[in-house]
């Protein structure tokens, strides 16, 4: 089993490689990432755990882009106020993006950093990929 790292340990770690989880376009243009488990992570993390993370992210993005009463209401209200309303309040999409950022931070702190991995928020990569940085496995004794 890989050694457990704390966040401080990762500061000294070197980046071994990066894995990119690409977008899944089978449902159209909505933001969805492939659940396929990358081979490079096999030794590092449990497949189930990883899939759960990605699935949660997909669900959050689906919530952001959902068409429904709420988004229509927001759209109409915005149109009536000539979109000036967005100077005062955030769009629904932005609120969900903040939720996603928090979720990723939580996941990193609790699950991924101890395993020597780091998830990058997809919004920083233009919603193209989920970038997972794999840090080198270093023994704790070298601190």
């Amino acid at each position: 089993m890989a050694e457990t790292h704390s966040l401080q340990d990762l500061r000294q770690a070197a980046v071994a490689s990066k894995v990119f989880v690409q977008r899944d376009y089978t449902s159209g243009t909505i933001c969805k990432f492939q659940i396929k488990f990358p081979a490079e992570l096999e030794s590092r993390i449990d497949k189930q755990q990883f899939e759960e993370t990605i699935q949660t992210l997909n669900n959050l993005y689906a919530e952001a882009e959902k068409l429904g009463g709420r988004s229509y209401l927001e759209g109409c209200l915005a149109c009536l106020t000539a979109y000036t309303i967005f100077l005062c309040m955030e769009t629904h999409y932005e609120k969900v993006l903040k939720k996603i950022a928090k979720y990723i931070q939580e996941q990193n702190e609790k699950i991924y950093a101890p395993l020597g991995l780091l998830l990058t928020d997809p919004i920083e990569r233009g919603l193209r990929v989920v970038e997972i940085t794999i840090f080198e496995d270093r023994s704790i004794g070298s601190r």
């Binding site: 490689s17 376009y25 109409c76 769009t91 629904h92 990193n108 990569r125």
Partner: protein, 482 residues
């Protein structure tokens, strides 16, 4: 132990070193002597051919001459209407006429500015690691190339709602374009749900500003019809009293307005009708012109993106959620060390003057102490770059599209373009080819070289990462781990 940042270090030499480095306020590892390294915002280093105003809040295409023509035409025609026709109409008919006209005019200008100034949905280019990863995947998928080297086909097929869609690889942006995205050769960007590049609006029309564009042309049609109708009414009423020729003499502006409106109505109303059809069938101009989903292509050919229902298609296009800009124009550029520079000296002590708040949020490693150190500096840097348009806060990761430039009048630069594209504003014809011109063939072998010869571990040399936290953390560690 890391994180021990207070100055109570036993060895005075290192303490002096630490102080020295802090006051230099250097931002890069390898040039500690550059005192005045200015922190750049991302729009200043944006690779596409766009123009930015108001410190990154406003984004337009390179050639904006026709846009100014549009603005002038609308302003002049409306101005003449309000000045010459409205007084007569208000007193003889009803004051509701200038009121409604005023509302329409403001709406038209608002939508125009919104469509012109916002990010159409530009996809940021791939980071070097991403590009390398994709290259690897393409090469493994295509197998080893023989002696008669042919560039591998760079397409991926995806099944969407039962239709096979080909995803093309963009050589400029080094990504596989999402479905419905296209590369605009004028702006040199990949744009999501690319509709067309509109010179009249001075910007691409894509996912994020399509509804503004549509509302603009719709309201402009209404405005031109409104002005046309009431100017005619005005002239008729006057000529009932004083005769036709003297009516024309009394309000000469009416003639100009009628002429402008007459020619505009044909094109703009036609365009509105065309886009109404596109919205109801959930197609882009690009797809319609290519006939991607036309039944002429094949029996089973249909549009996989349509919701099937006309109302849903319209609502989705006009009232759907507005995605935020993906390019984060006003964010700060993190210090990049593209070459593998050896960070032997501990000069990376104060890198935090470029920490972005949202980077810290997503990279919990850096959430604590290093930011506090230089905490004063970045805030000052941000506010000093604020400029006159200080209504919005600095560098938010998901900033909504820019407000219309009404508050930033002073900073709008009047461009004098050598070439002004005066395309005829008829639907289909004013559409400029969105097909990207592939980058010269020399780029291709270089890319494949990268894929073949560089060992993955070398690619991810610690010194060549582009993320702030690893660099700064390493620098801090060098200092504190004595």
């Amino acid at each position: 132990m890391t994180g021990n940042m207070h100055l109570g270090v036993e060895e005075p030499i290192r303490e002096c070193q630490y102080n020295q480095i802090c006051t230099h306020n250097s931002s890069t590892m390898d040039t500690p002597h550059t005192k005045k390294k200015k922190i750049k915002r991302k729009w200043q280093v944006f690779p596409g051919r766009n123009k930015f105003y108001c410190n990154g809040r406003i984004m337009m295409a390179k050639q904006t001459g026709v846009f100014y023509l549009t603005v002038v035409l609308i302003l002049v025609t409306s101005g003449l209407f309000f000045a010459f026709d409205c007084p007569f109409l208000a007193s003889n008919l009803t004051p509701a006429i200038p009121a409604i006209g005023g509302v329409l005019f403001i709406f038209v200008m608002g939508m125009l500015l919104r469509a012109s100034f916002s990010d159409p949905g530009v996809l940021p280019r791939a980071t070097p690691e991403e590009a390398a990863d994709i290259e690897r995947q393409i090469d493994t998928a295509n197998g080893p190339s023989g002696p008669g080297y042919r560039p591998p086909p760079r397409t991926r097929e995806v099944l969407i709602n039962g239709q096979t869609v080909k995803l093309k690889y963009c050589f400029t942006c080094k990504i596989f374009r999402p479905p419905r995205a296209s590369h605009c050769s004028l702006c040199d960007n990949c744009v999501e749900r690319f509709d067309h590049h509109c010179p009249w609006v001075g910007n691409c029309v894509g996912r994020r500003n399509y509804r503004f564009f549509y509302l603009f042309i719709l309201s402009l049609s209404l405005l031109t019809i409104f002005i046309f109708a009431f100017v005619i009414t005005h002239v008729i009423l006057r000529s009932n009293r004083t005769g036709f020729l003297s009516a024309l003499k009394d309000s000469p502006a009416s003639v100009l307005e009628v002429v402008v409106c007459f020619f505009s109505i044909w094109s703009i109303v036609g365009l509105s009708g065309f886009h109404t059809y596109l919205i109801s069938s959930n197609q882009t101009t690009n797809e319609d012109i290519k006939g991607s989903w036309s039944s002429k292509r094949g029996k089973g050919n249909y549009n996989p993106y349509s919701y099937g229902n006309l109302i849903t298609n319209c609502c989705a296009a006009l009232c759907g959620p507005l995605p935020p800009s993906l390019i984060d124009r006003r964010g700060f550029v993190q210090p990049d060390t593209p070459q593998p520079v050896a960070q032997t000296n501990g000069t990376g002590a104060c890198p935090s003057n470029q920490v972005q708040s949202h980077m810290a949020a997503t990279n919990p490693l850096l959430h604590s102490q290093p930011i506090i150190l230089g905490g004063g500096a970045p805030l000052q840097a941000k506010t000093s770059l604020g400029g006159p348009c200080s209504t919005l806060g600095p560098s938010q990761a998901s900033l909504p599209s820019s407000i219309p430039g009404l508050s930033c009048g002073g900073e709008l630069m009047a461009l004098r373009d050598s070439e002004i594209h005066c395309h005829h504003h008829l639907h289909h014809q004013h559409f400029i080819s969105p097909e990207e011109t592939p980058s010269p063939p020399t780029a291709l072998p270089c890319a494949t070289h990268l894929g073949h010869h560089v060992h993955p571990a070398q690619l991810f040399n610690p010194a060549s990462q582009d993320s702030l936290h690893e660099d700064s953390v390493r620098g801090l560690v060098k200092l504190s781990s004595v």
